[in-house]
Symmetry: C3
Subunit: 427 residues, 3 copies
């Protein structure tokens, strides 16, 4: 596994910096987040005007939130955006009113099954307002009159997204996409942002074959906007991953691309299988994060989604419990290592042709095979036999590694040694 | 599930009326059965002369049975066709003789393992005669002389079969086939006849897209005769089912067509999976009922066989224990509901094309998506996402339902709603 | 199962005769072994000069071993080739020297985990010498000076291999390959040799359709040499098997050809499944015996490997414990029966066409179907229905047997009977 020692602590520190910012699909919080990312990696920030048509959608207005609260009869802020930005329904329209608890109640969102957690709710595409709070707190609110304020506004402005390109030596691209619109939620998706940032930094030193394009954008509308503005580019995308929920302590979850058998699917499954950590693989479904857009039938890009715990399936998901304690440096570091190992597979996966296809070549006289007969074979030698046997032009190294049940790196090294002895050439 | 309330009791009553009739592959009992069916649904009865060549076979003579008995020395009818028509080997040639029990014994058929049951035996294609009786009864018959009488005759006449066509709006046909040659046996196959009759009645009110052709015919020779006279029609048959053993209390058994992956196979498996009742699926084999003929390699029609308990695999099968108690109104009603649900799938299964294939369309502004973000998705919305994602021209609604693991009806409704909003069009 | 009664004892006796000979990849022992085989079956022995280029390899020199020993200070032979020919590393260069135990030790090979077993070691392609001995014996050797002698030489000569052709009536060939280079080791591979010899004898009386070519050759270099000299012939090879480890008491192991779905793979798996003995099947891997060469990508011949215990996976493998007691007459006889049954399948596997493809033919009037209706079907009749149903030109008898889950012989007999009644013809 290709690790970046110390990266886990550094990623957690970055998450801690970004955590308090109240992001949304547009506006200052998103822009501030992109600015912070830009201090880590070269980032081009794009601003797309409100009202721009992007396929079936329209870029929405910018949301500015200054304050929000509910005051009781005694004037105490019983719900206070200043204490937790999840308290306000994200993208709420402004409101200033007095009302009874009964009138207020339809605007209050809680989780009766998780009475101490503040839920995360949004209302992007329907004009509405509301507050989120712990159910236990709601139960303690007496009947009577309350004063309600959401000091926000929606105005024409821009949708922001950031792009970091690590240029490759060849024409093929890898797309890495993270949604950057969620407010104070760590696993979803500051973890994905942090892992992407550190992966981009690691790649920049590697002179890769593929270009790696990292996009940080608001969920759904951001991906749709990006695709709308990059239709001519998507033909170069050979592999892609949506990153989310990469900091929790659960095992890995990989959701395959719509194609189901894309090279990126094989690469992630191979790496997870050989890391030895717990993991499971899900077939594609059109519900989730921005893989929904990348895998829409008009694009059908080979984009999977790499997670630890599956989004929507753990109790902390979309609640105030998805906080700084919920994400662990060690988990982040392991996620980064898995991602970089996947990149290694994609980078080094090639199809070769055996130049000596009739019978095995005599590896021994080339110093590639141990001398003493009768004993068992070494893994490296076995890998060479597999590469020779399957390099008929139809099998790439990854498929050879899978069939041989050997780590990709061992198979790639075997290919390198065989090529160095003129026994193998690119197909 | 599309139920027909009260149909179970009505089907059982129809079975009770048909039960006493002594049917065979030709003759009065078969004709009387078709006449009774014709009182329920429009039925065209065809009469094919004995001696007609039908592929490798010849339409046999008509069998008339008036009486049959074995009398003991005291003149008592110890075996008596009047008491149960299974007592005579079906299609026996006439006989009138005196003989010892030893001489009679080769003509007596019993089930030593089921000593109280009268077996059902036939001798259609080899001239022979015999009696069937409970093994316990045979054991009590003293040695000595017996008088034997089968008052029957075989003469040139006709083979009868009935056809009920529910015409459809399009050119495609669904074939439903029931054998109607078994005498007093309820599950095999008065149950199949009753379910077919009630399905035809339900369909007649539905103005279906497919034409539904119900055939009631003697097993083997009837199906061969029908195919022989309808070779020019079979090209229109898109789906087909043989119905038998649909009244017992067992779970469902579906035997696939020879193709194994025909749409009818997928439809039945889908419906059974989503009914929640116990069921199992068998691969095609060339033994069983008339699916043998429909799936012969020269036709290879997509015809499966729907049963509850698998024919030949339950102790009551082909014995006097397959009586009116063995079939239950509730089972019949459930079988009818499954069959109608399968028809619904076949009727509504279409392939659509997503008219907005690049990214998801904005369902929310069309009122197709609930407003509040952050919460989990509803089944109907999920179904819409699946239909949009897979409507690339290669997936019909049934394959989408299977991949989404959603009931077909939910997926079909999602398609209907999307089409109503011009987001989907027939492919 | 096609048995050859008494063959087990006879094969064991042949193994016992061959056991003491010190074989290698070239030289007198190999030649003597081929001469002994030639007394059982017609064998053409080929001699290929040292130095001949065979693909990437060169035919090596002949190795002559006369004696080898290590004497202690008292002049006693503490390691003695005369007692067991495994004591010398096979293909050792000559040596005559005095040295301390410390100097000798790098040339001594033992198995610490199996302290009583002498390992089998070779040094074919690297000039070297050594001795093999029981680890317990090594532990008892005192420090001090030893006299070492390997009275051997390597000189230009020939590589020998033997070929026995059982000619067939048609153009297609079956290749059976056994390595014959191992010294006193019974399961690996005197067992394979013995089974091949007896199979060739049995076939010679059978006037087969295929030509069966049995090759007895040194491992690796022998197969490479054979392929190099027979490139124009390999196009006729339809099926092939490497035979090894066929005398031990373990269940069968079948390693598939590289293609994985070759007819020989289906045939062996079918026979093993229907023998009822324990067996398992392995996917191809490019490590093992000469299937490595036959399945190299430039040839990709459909050659599997039939074994009982898997080579390299049992403790006696490549040690002095693989002796005459380790192989059992009964195991050898069963292995021969399996091999002959596989040959039967390959010989009789044909594709037929149903001449009466529309509906079933009336088997009863041809005496092919039992008379009394209502009872269950017999296996032979069921087999006829399967053959008729699937003989559409796309299914050979073996695939029909597999789909019907019936023994091949039953299906082949059904086809024979149907063909005799003009219901079936070769496709």
């Amino acid at each position: 596994m290709i690790g970046v020692p110390g990266a886990g602590v550094a990623m957690h520190a970055l998450i801690a910096e970004l955590y308090p910012i109240c992001r949304s699909i547009t506006g200052a919080g998103l822009r501030q987040t992109l600015a912070r990312i830009a201090r880590e990696i070269p980032l081009v920030v794009h601003e797309v005007p409100s009202g721009t048509r992007v396929f079936d959608w329209t870029v929405p207005r910018e949301w500015t939130i200054r304050d929000a609260w509910v005051r009781d009869a005694a004037g105490r802020r019983v719900i206070d955006f200043q204490r937790h930005n999840l308290h306000v329904v994200n993208y709420s329209v402004p409101v200033r009113a007095r009302m009874t608890l009964a009138e207020l109640r339809p605007h209050l969102h809680t989780l009766p099954d998780q009475p101490d957690a503040i839920p995360y709710r949004t209302s992007y595409y329907k004009e509405s307002w509301g507050f989120c709070l712990a159910h236990r707190q709601l139960e303690q609110m007496p009947e009577g009159e309350y004063e309600v304020c959401i000091d926000a506004d929606l105005h024409d402005g821009h949708l922001s997204y950031g792009e970091c390109l690590v240029p490759g030596s060849g024409p093929d691209e890898v797309l890495i996409s993270c949604h950057a619109c969620h407010p104070s939620l760590c696993d979803d998706n500051l973890s994905g942002i942090a892992v992407a940032v550190f992966a981009a930094r690691a790649l920049a030193q590697a002179r890769p074959r593929h270009s790696f394009r990292f996009v940080f954008l608001p969920g759904t509308i951001g991906a749709i906007t990006w695709l709308s503005r990059n239709e001519d580019r998507v033909g170069s995308i050979r592999h892609g991953l949506v990153l989310t929920c990469l900091g929790d302590r659960g095992g890995f979850t990989y959701k395959r691309s719509r194609r189901g058998n894309a090279p990126v699917d094989a690469a992630v499954e191979h790496v997870l299988r050989h890391t030895g950590t717990a993991h499971r693989t899900l077939d594609f479904s059109p519900y989730g994060y921005d893989e929904r857009q990348y895998n829409s039938p008009g694009f059908n890009l080979p984009v999977g989604c790499l997670m630890r715990s599956e989004h929507g399936r753990f109790p902390q998901y979309h609640t105030s419990l998805d906080d700084l304690d919920f994400v662990a440096p060690r988990s982040l570091e392991e996620s980064l290592a898995v991602l970089l190992a996947v990149f290694q597979v994609l980078e080094h996966n090639r199809t070769f042709r055996n130049l000596n296809p009739k019978c095995e070549p005599q590896l021994g006289r080339r110093g590639l095979y141990s001398g003493l007969g009768g004993t068992d074979i070494r893994q490296q030698e076995l890998a060479m036999l597999w590469v020779l046997n399957l390099s008929d032009g139809d099998h790439d190294l990854l498929s050879i590694a899978q069939r041989a049940d050997l780590p990709f790196a061992v198979v790639a090294e075997a290919a390198r040694r065989l090529a160095a002895h003129d026994l193998l050439a690119p197909a």
